[in-house]
């Protein structure tokens, strides 16, 4: 792990914990935006620019704006406490889950390991990498998988986004967006 990655992991961890602990809603939203920005940079370092762009635009941008708008329209409960009280049974459950997940980390292949199953798998990853350009004529394999090989899934996702927009109108008891 390079120093940059280490710093980013620590930053993301601290902001994530701070988001959960801050009592004030506004502080939590701001720290959450910082967390999203840290994740976006981490994705870039891990060579996933597509995911990084999504995280920066949606996690740090749209989510923060919509949450800020929500507290502007509702209320921001005042409190003297800086931090939320820690819920001990919840903390124990989360720590246990984190511990179980962390035990799998030493067995995970290194980043960029050519022998990693996810990469060397001849039926999935290698198939896409070898056949994408001949099959579809596009150079970005991610786009090809999303739009062509798994077009039906993407159609489902698009309809889910559409349904989410409509559901917001239903919840707000409105008939128009404006």
């Amino acid at each position: 792990m390079t120093p940059l990655e280490g710093t980013l992991v620590v930053f993301v961890f601290v902001t994530a914990v701070a988001t959960a602990l801050f009592r004030d809603v506004l502080s939590a939203i701001i720290v959450f935006a910082a967390y999203s920005l840290g994740m976006a940079i981490l994705y870039t370092v891990l060579l996933a620019p597509d995911v990084a762009m999504t995280e920066a635009a949606i996690g740090a941008g749209v989510t923060s704006i919509l949450l800020l708008l929500t507290i502007a329209k509702t209320s921001r409960p005042a409190s003297d406490d800086l931090f939320e009280e820690i819920h001990v049974p919840g903390l124990i459950a989360v720590s246990a889950l984190a511990l179980v997940l962390l035990t799998t980390v030493p067995d995970a292949p290194a980043v960029g390991d050519p022998a990693a199953p996810v990469w060397s798998n001849p039926d999935v990853t290698q198939y896409y990498i070898q056949h994408t350009y001949d099959d579809t004529g596009v150079q970005n394999a991610v786009t090809a998988v999303l739009a062509a090989y798994r077009g039906f899934d993407t159609f489902g996702e698009a309809v889910v986004v559409f349904a989410a927009g409509m559901a917001t109108l239903l919840v707000l008891n409105r008939e128009v967006f404006a």
């Binding site: 941008g61 704006i65 596009v138 150079q139 970005n140 090809a144 077009g151 159609f155 559409f162 008891n173």
Partner: protein, 164 residues
């Protein structure tokens, strides 16, 4: 101007109208064309470079949100009518379904782009079919839903018997 924005700008407690800031307006005017171009670039060029219509649509949506913050929500709302936002969202889904059904009409499976090339004779038909659902479908849906969510949240809950 734009009295309705004040609730969004700094909560209900402060009683003053939203005054546009010359500095923010100028900066947004300068940055918005670049942001919009970047969003369009990501959508249109996603097939060959990192990026894609989801990211591109999100950035197009965020550009509108930025304009709304600078110019006030009400003027933006008047400029971008409900029919436009609904048209973006519903039109995106319609284009997506339309492309899928078109390949079925040509005798293939849902979204079998190859048929655009083999039957209709469009060069690189697979690529253009994917571009159609990426740009015409997902980018429009995502941009429309973001703008719509923003306007809907800014307008708030519509109670019975109250003017929208």
């Amino acid at each position: 101007m734009a009295r309705a924005d004040r609730s969004m700008e700094r909560g209900e407690a402060f009683d003053d109208t939203y005054v546009e800031s010359q500095v923010i307006l100028t900066a947004v005017r300068l940055v918005a064309p670049f942001a919009l171009t970047y969003g369009l670039f990501l959508s249109l060029h996603g097939a060959d470079t990192p990026g894609g219509s989801f990211q591109g649509g999100a950035i197009i949506g965020v550009t509108i949100l930025m304009l709304a913050f600078a110019f006030g929500i009400e003027p933006t709302r008047e400029w971008l009518r409900n029919s436009v936002v609904t048209g973006l969202v519903a039109g995106g889904v319609a284009i997506f379904i339309g492309v899928g059904l078109a390949t079925m009409a040509l005798g293939g499976a849902f979204l079998e782009y190859r048929l655009f090339e083999t039957i209709l004779g469009i060069p690189d038909g697979t690529k253009w079919g994917m571009e159609a659902i990426e740009v015409g479908g997902i980018a429009l849906i995502v941009a429309g839903v973001f703008i719509g969510l923003f306007f809907a949240t800014a307008a708030g809950l519509h109670r019975e018997g109250e003017e929208a």
